[in-house]
Amino acid sequence: MTSLKSVVESLLFVADTPLTLDRLCSILEEHDRRDISAAVAELLAEYGEGTRGIYLAEVAGGWQLRSRPENADYLRRLNRSRPYRFSNSSLETLAIIAYRQPITRAEVEYLRGVDSGGVLKTLLEKKMLRILGKKDIPGRPLIYGTSREFLESFNLKDLASLPTLKEVQELTARDLLEQQEELPLPGLNVNSTE
């Protein structure tokens, strides 16, 4: 018999999606949730050491073994995975939806200032977005949100681990070394356009 840690490592290795603690517990039903959690923690620590070719990422509410990003140049030569390329408009639209979801197409377009139907469709096809339902306002427009695949693609544990817009701005400001003084702008209420 091998250890629980070994079993968890095997599971993480063969699973083709991130495994959540709930999923691990239902697979390892005879084990204590606390023990499973501890095994994951041990693995996280082990994979965190040194510069191994594999690391244990916390994504989409679970854990997934991934290749070390520093080795990406070599891995691309294997030519196996479809490279993800996002256009600027896709990224812009994704950012808006990630921060403002649930959101309608009209709201996205108000923020971007351009028609966004085509981009939304592309992002739906790439499974980065989900249709969450319809908004309870006249016309019942569709509402969109980001998907689990979005979290996986962008290496995010959950939506809350996105930097806040303020943090993003501070980072950008520091990057550009051009501190813009902040003026109070009242009433940035974009959603009142229905």
Binding site: S67, S89, G113, L165, V168
Partner: protein
């Protein structure tokens, strides 16, 4: 004044291909172009020299036109907004007693708010792109492990997105002649919902009082939908309407899946699944 923009670089394209790509890559939209002009001119976003910026903006649209590029409607809409702001700034304020609240606000305020808001998301987009992207920076084993290949799943979890369902329906419709189809709107689907609910309600009962089926239909629209659903059920012969005596209650009698005569038999299933 010249327009220095990404499009300039491509004014002398070395191939047709290059010309084709600028349309999508020059500017994401009017906000993007405006932010570019503001930055290039090193002006304060809170105090935009609207006349100069408008002129440069229109110059850019001219360049696009000279290049025979399609100018998206959104760019033209912004042009008209800019012109409007410019003219409002030239107008003298109305006499004191007629000053409304909107007259007091800087005509540029709304535009500035939207530009700043847009800028935030554009920066957020950049920070997204800087993350360790799956398929670009990091890779996973997104294939079935060979050691598991021979294991048959015992129980499957359904995993499908609404969008895929719609796309499937669209594929079907694409192959069907148009007039055989009409778009089913929310109303048609509400009737289908109601039919499903009524069937559940009627299951296992001998009959239901007609009026009682309207309990819970709060709005006029819901009443109509319930009524249409009952009619549809009659048409499909899944219910029968009967009245015990004149002016008595109308009874809705389920005739579907009647245990004695009408149960779904093996034979029925065989016929459909043969």
């Amino acid at each position: 004044m010249t327009v220095a923009s990404p499009a300039d670089i491509i004014l002398f394209p070395d191939s047709y291909q290059t010309v084709y790509t600028i349309r999508t890559e020059a500017f994401e939209g009017p906000f993007d172009l405006l932010l570019h002009l503001i930055k290039k001119n090193e002006v304060d976003i809170y105090n935009i020299p609207i006349a100069a910026i408008t002129r440069q903006y229109l110059d850019y649209l001219d360049v696009m036109q000279e290049l025979n590029l399609d100018i998206a409607g959104d760019f033209l809409v912004m042009a008209s907004t800019l012109i409007q702001i410019k003219s409002r700034m030239l107008l003298p304020l109305p006499p004191d007693e007629e000053i409304g609240e909107e007259d007091l606000e800087d005509p540029r305020a709304e535009l500035v708010r939207r530009l700043l808001e847009y800028q935030k998301y554009r920066e957020a987009a950049v920070s997204l792109a800087q993350r360790e992207l799956l398929g670009r920076d990091t890779f996973v084993r997104d294939f079935a492990a060979p050691e598991l290949a021979e294991i048959e799943p015992e129980q499957e979890r359904l995993e499908v997105e609404l969008f895929e369902l719609i796309e499937a329906f669209r594929r079907v419709l694409a192959t069907v002649p148009e007039q055989t189809f009409h778009e089913v709107g929310a109303e048609g689907l509400s009737i289908a919902d109601r039919i499903n609910e009524l069937l559940l309600l009627l299951q296992g009962t001998d009959a239901a009082v007609f009026e009682n089926l309207f309990i819970g239909s709060a709005t006029r629209e819901q009443v109509i939908i319930t009524f249409l659903a009952i009619l549809e059920l009659c048409r499909l012969n899944m219910v029968r309407l009967a009245q015990a005596r004149s002016f008595g209650s109308i009874l809705v009698i389920p005739t579907f899946l009647d245990a004695a005569a009408e149960a779904v038999t093996e034979e029925d299933l065989d016929r459909d699944f043969a």
